[in-house]
C-alpha cells in the first residue's frame, strides 16, 4: 500500500500525483471483503445469487437480505458494506418511483443504473463524505428482454451477460465464462448459480454462509421474487453434490 502515509488517501476530493483516488480504491477493498454476489443473464430472464456470510449462529435465518426489490421487475444485489447496500437500494426505489411519476411507465434498468451511477459518483467528489463501499448488481426483465448491470464504488456502471462481485469474484467469473449463458434455461441458470456460489465459498477461511437466490422470468410472470422453494432446494443439493466431485 504505497498510498499510506502520503496524505493523498485522506480525502475522496484529492487525487494522488499519478491520478488515482485512493478512497475509491479503499472502497473497492471493502467490497472484496464481502461474500460473493453473482448475476446471470440468460435468454428469458435473470438469476441473482449471494453468498451471505453468517457471522453468528444467533442470527435469524433469512434476515439481513442482500438481494432486494427495487420495482416489480428490478432486482438489486450488493457486495460490500450491508448498510451502504440498504442506502443505495432505498435510493434506487426512489429513482424508480420518480421515473414512473415522470414517464408513467416502468423504468428501464439502464435509466436506474445511470441515476445510481451519478449518485454513487457524487460520493467520490467531496472531502466530507466517503465513497460507497459496495458493488451493486442490478437485474431486470422488461419488454426488451433481460438486462444486467454492475455499479462500482467509483460510479461507473457496465452491462454484463454474467456478473460477479465480492470476495470470490475471480473464480466466479471464470466459471461464468465457461457457461453458454444464452443457451441456458432459467432453471438451469439457477442450478449453475447455486453451484458457483458453493464453489467459490472458501470454508477453510470462512464460517457458515447462507445461499440467497432470486430470479425474474416467465415463471415469475417477469416479477422479481425468491426462487421457488423446491427449485432452491434442488439447486442447493446439486451444488453440494457438485462440490464433492469437484474436490
Amino acid at each position: 500500500m504505497t498510498s499510506i502515509g502520503t496524505g493523498y488517501d485522506l480525502s475522496a476530493s484529492t487525487y494522488s500525483p499519478d491520478g488515482r483516488i485512493f478512497q475509491v480504491e479503499y472502497a473497492n477493498k471493502a467490497v472484496e471483503n464481502s461474500g460473493t454476489a453473482i448475476g446471470l443473464k440468460v435468454k428469458d430472464g435473470i438469476v441473482l445469487a449471494v453468498e451471505k456470510l453468517v457471522h453468528s449462529k444467533l442470527l435469524v435465518p433469512e434476515a439481513n437480505r442482500r438481494i432486494q426489490t427495487i420495482d416489480r421487475h428490478i432486482a438489486l444485489a450488493t457486495a460490500g458494506l450491508l448498510a451502504d447496500g440498504r442506502q443505495l437500494s432505498n435510493r434506487a426505489r426512489d429513482e424508480a418511483t420518480n421515473y414512473r411519476e415522470t414517464y408513467n411507465s416502468p423504468p428501464p434498468l439502464k435509466a436506474v443504473a445511470d441515476r445510481l451511477g451519478l449518485y454513487v459518483q457524487a460520493y467520490t467528489l467531496y472531502s466530507s463524505v466517503r465513497p460507497f463501499g459496495i458493488s451493486t448488481i442490478l437485474g431486470t426483465v422488461d419488454q426488451d428482454g433481460p438486462a444486467l448491470f454492475v455499479v462500482e464504488p467509483s460510479g461507473v456502471f457496465f452491462g454484463y451477460n454474467g456478473a460477479a462481485v465480492g470476495k470470490g469474484r475471480q473464480l466466479a467469473k471464470t466459471e461464468l465464462e465457461k457457461l453458454k449463458l444464452p443457451e441456458l434455461s432459467l432453471r438451469e441458470a439457477v442450478i449453475e448459480a447455486a453451484r458457483i456460489i458453493y464453489l467459490v465459498h472458501d470454508d477453510a477461511k470462512e464460517k457458515e454462509f447462507e445461499l440467497e437466490m432470486s430470479w425474474i422470468g416467465p415463471e415469475s410472470n417477469n416479477l422479481h421474487v425468491h426462487v421457488p422453494k423446491d427449485l432452491f432446494d434442488e439447486a442447493e443439493a446439486k451444488a453440494k453434490a457438485a462440490l464433492e466431485t469437484f474436490e
Partner: protein, 266 residues
C-alpha cells in the same frame, strides 16, 4: 345521493339546472355574486365524469359493475373507458365522478402497491387497507378544500373475508352488503337491497350476475348519463376477474305506443 357529480359537495339548491342540460362548466349561477371573484381561486369541478358504480356481496365474494361511459356534461364523450380498476391480488375499486381524478387515484395506488411489493416482507395490501388509505387521502384533500371529485367503491376478498365499502370526495365512508354510487344510489340500491339483504351467504355467482345485470339494465333505461356497455368485476378467494365489455339487451318499442306527452299529438 345526488346523481349529478357537479352537484356533489355543494349545498342542495333546486334553482340549479336540475336537468343538467348545460355543459358542466357553464351552468347558471343563481347564488350571490362574489365581487372579488377574479382574485379568488376557483374550487375545482368535475369535467369528464363517470356515472353509477354498483356492487354486492354474494356467497363467494364481491361482484361490482360500472359502464364504459365518461361524459362531458350531457355529451357522451368517451365510450370505452374502464371504471373498474384492480389493485393488488384481492381488490377492485370502481369510480364515479371525475375521471381525471380517478386516473390520479390509480397512479397513487400503483405507487402504493409497488412500495408494498418492494418491501418483500410477506405483507400485502387487502381491500380493507386500500379502503382505509383512500379514505385518508379523500378526507385530507377535502380538508384542503381541494377534493378528488369521486365516489368510490372498494371491494375484495382476503383471508376468507369479504369486504365492500364506499368512500367519496368528502371522506365519508360506509360499508354494507349492497352499495351503489351516483344515480345508482337511487335507482339500483333498492333493487339490490331487495335481492341481496339476508341472502349474502347463499347467492351463487350466476344469481349475483343476474341481479347485477338487471340493475345495470334499469340504470341504462333511466339514467341519461349511462351506456349499454359495461364491465363486471368478480373478486373471490381465487383472485380478481374483470370481464370484457358486455352489451345490454334493451327494447324501446314500447315507447311507440306512449301517448299523452312529448311531440305526438295523437
Amino acid at each position: 345521493m345526488d346523481h349529478f357529480p357537479t352537484n356533489w359537495g355543494r349545498p342542495r339548491n333546486d334553482a340549479f339546472d336540475a336537468y343538467g342540460t348545460y355543459p358542466i362548466h357553464q351552468r347558471p349561477q343563481n347564488g350571490p355574486k362574489d365581487a372579488f371573484s377574479a382574485g379568488v381561486q376557483r374550487t375545482q369541478q368535475p369535467i369528464v365524469t363517470g356515472t353509477s358504480v354498483i356492487a354486492i356481496k354474494y356467497k363467494d365474494g364481491i361482484m361490482m359493475a360500472a359502464d364504459n361511459l365518461a361524459s362531458y356534461g350531457s355529451l357522451a364523450r368517451f365510450k370505452d373507458v374502464q371504471r373498474l380498476h384492480p389493485v393488488g391480488d384481492n381488490t377492485v375499486i370502481g369510480a364515479g365522478g371525475d375521471m381525471s381524478d380517478f386516473q390520479y387515484i390509480q397512479t397513487l395506488l400503483n405507487e402504493l402497491d409497488i412500495e408494498e411489493y418492494t418491501a418483500q416482507d410477506g405483507h400485502s395490501l387487502g381491500p380493507a387497507e386500500i379502503h382505509e388509505y383512500l379514505s385518508q387521502v379523500m378526507y385530507a384533500r377535502r380538508s384542503k378544500i381541494n377534493p378528488l371529485w369521486n365516489s368510490l367503491l372498494v371491494g375484495g376478498v382476503k383471508n376468507g373475508t369479504r369486504f365492500l365499502a364506499y368512500v367519496d370526495l368528502l371522506g365519508t365512508t360506509y360499508s354494507a352488503s349492497t352499495l351503489a354510487t351516483g344515480y345508482g344510489a337511487h335507482i339500483a340500491q333498492p333493487l339490490l337491497r331487495t335481492a341481496v339483504e339476508g341472502f349474502e351467504d347463499v347467492l351463487t355467482e350466476e344469481q349475483a350476475l343476474k341481479i347485477i345485470e338487471n340493475s345495470m339494465k334499469v340504470l341504462f333505461y333511466r339514467d341519461a348519463r349511462s351506456l349499454n356497455k359495461y364491465q363486471v368485476a368478480t373478486i373471490t378467494k381465487d383472485g380478481v376477474n374483470i370481464s370484457e365489455s358486455k352489451h345490454l339487451e334493451t327494447s324501446w318499442s314500447f315507447a311507440e305506443g306512449i301517448r299523452g306527452y312529448g311531440a305526438q299529438t295523437q
